[in-house]
Point group: C2
Chain length 188, copies 2
């Protein structure tokens, strides 16, 4: 699984095996069972996670119990509650594992140490942060401006395995429609 | 105005006057008149702008002519169409000046050169990018989950001068309601 992490870093930077070992020394690994939480609303969220294996959903729940899914996350995604991670505040998002999930994780302090110690990683995180921002902006524009079926197609195009790994109920929740509506839209 | 830019950088990094001169040498300045565009849909968007003075709106327009305002931007904001800037594709957003606007701007290539030449700036942009991402996520969660008046209050709290500088029509467009609805909500 660590080879996948190295390949992920090499999308942006070139690293030797020795550098990779140094980078890895800043991270720890952990396995979360299905239905446990990486991040809980109202609690500190001091870690940034890299998903080696598994699937999560990041969501908020309103007063009536309705879930708003902000995003799914699967192999190759970085997961954090960015405000809580950066400012040490409590999380305003839940991140729950939909499958058994294996992660690398790093604290905010260790991330700063890593970036100071290995400047290539500062570059990596700057570039990745830009990509994440672009993806979030595209998601927001689609939420504003695209039809439900266009948004469904975009989600499945981006992560085809979601089609098999996530229930129609959850896909409908991500799209902000009922599962009946989604079923009707995707059957036509 | 350059003092404001230096103070902005010093929110994240400490820089000497000499370093500031070096940083500035990577940027150019330009004035855009009211109603001209920093970024046009369908055209390349090769620059990142820092607003020294002025006010812009970033928006998309749907087939029926309805405007979706993604954000306003004023003094101290960085403005770019991140996907087009990073990948050299064409812009999918319009950014129009609502007032005469003075900017510093830098190309993607020069931004990479700046980060290589002055590593503190790599750090600056990584940290700022994280903040921008956090702000965008907060906006998206509020769009999903908060009332119109809560979103109005959050916008004005973040940038109080918008209350005087932007028409009620545009604020309503940002909130996704008619100006009549906004007027009713804010008069009670």
């Amino acid at each position: 699984m660590m080879e996948a992490f190295k390949a992920h870093l090499e999308q942006v930077i070139n690293i030797s095996d020795d550098e990779f070992e140094s980078i890895l020394s800043f991270f720890s690994t952990k396995t979360f069972e299905k239905h446990t939480y990486l991040i809980k609303i109202g609690e500190p969220a001091p870690y940034e996670y890299f998903l080696l294996r598994g699937l999560v959903k990041a969501y908020q729940t309103d007063r009536s119990g309705r879930q708003y899914i902000v995003h799914f996350g699967l192999e190759g995604w970085w997961i954090l509650e960015i405000e809580a991670f950066q400012r040490g505040t409590n999380a305003t998002l839940d991140v729950e594992c939909l499958e058994d999930t294996v992660v690398l994780y790093i604290s905010a302090t260790d991330k700063e140490r890593l970036c100071l110690s290995i400047p290539k990683m500062e570059h990596f995180f700057r570039v990745k942060s830009g990509w994440a921002h672009a993806a979030l902006q595209e998601r927001m524009l689609m939420d504003m401006n695209a039809s439900t079926i266009e948004r469904y197609d975009a989600l499945i195009r981006q992560d085809p395995s979601l089609y098999h790994r996530v229930s129609q109920n959850l896909l409908a929740s991500y799209l902000g429609v009922t599962s009946e509506t989604l079923s009707r839209l995707t059957s036509t």
